[in-house]
Symmetry: C2
Subunit: 150 residues, 2 copies
DNA sequence: GTGATTGCAAACCTTTTGCACGCCA
DNA sequence: TGGCGTGCAAAAGGTTTGCAATCAC
């Protein structure tokens, strides 16, 4: 959970960069700050638009590549989506997702039981697991009425 | 599981179309047949390439739209992927996925316990649920060695 | 006959790639 | 200084849209 302050998180971020031999550049800091502000599920472009406000000269590519770098470093996650632009998730704590197949909304939810699910034994042996999420798909409250009205 | 014959499944498909007021066109039949053959996780283009063999005059758009139509009708599912082209899943029985974040492989697995997971009560009340999947992300057996070699 | 479906083509959007320059360590 | 990181621009890849012609019912 996000009990740590902005400063603490920024500090931890820089530590993580050092640990992974990632150079600490103004651009990376700007991207990370934007991610801390945005608790939703931003696309690369969403992040770009936000970072731009404080860092007008940054390029989209830098933002996009930075996001991929952060993902490889485990600082953020890539969301599982039903197609469409890639979405990132700055929240790396265990949580789960609901996807509306009509409006595309992704709704986070927490669920202790799901968090505690054990991984299949063989998989744990053979693979290196980073994340486990329950994804529920359907029509959200706003869309469930219109489902047959196609 | 797929104990029913090709003929049975085709028949069930046509029944489903009638039930949903979908016209039974040669194109839709061709797409459905291609899906029955392909047990992997095809993209729209994968399906297109396959259908083409038996139906050279079909257009990509028709295939793509047909897949979306089938999804809305609940005949197939859209896979949750970390970006990239949309993938479809002709297997609508309960199963779960592992995603390798390095090579992009999607591996199906079955897991009774995961199948039996109960949905969050409130969600079941408010939303219309179509599917529930556990998605595990990480490095697969082939890729786990190369993870630090970036 | 009528409305749903198809084929075609263009537009749109996102992601990837290559390369020269610049900056962090 | 060396090599990683950045910015720019072009290309590639996938999806969506509009419209006229066609087909299933």
């Amino acid at each position: 959970m996000h009990i740590s302050s902005r400063q603490d998180r920024l500090h931890a971020f820089m530590e993580a960069c050092r640990r992974q031999n990632l150079k600490i550049t103004p651009q990376r800091i700007a991207v990370y700050k934007a991610l801390m502000d945005n608790t939703r599920h931003p696309s690369a472009d969403d992040v770009f638009q936000r970072v731009r406000k404080d860092f007008p000269r940054i390029s989209f590519d830098t933002v996009n590549r930075t996001l991929l770098t952060f993902t490889e470093a485990g600082l953020i996650h890539i969301l599982e989506t039903p197609g469409g632009p890639r979405r990132f998730d700055p929240d790396t704590s265990s949580h789960h997702h609901f996807h509306c197949i009509r409006c595309g909304r992704i709704i986070d939810f927490c669920h202790d039981l799901y968090d505690k699910l054990e991984l299949p034994e063989e998989m744990e042996k053979e693979f290196r697991i980073l994340k486990k999420t329950v994804v529920i798909t359907g029509y959200c409250d706003r869309c469930r009425g219109s489902e047959s009205a196609s």
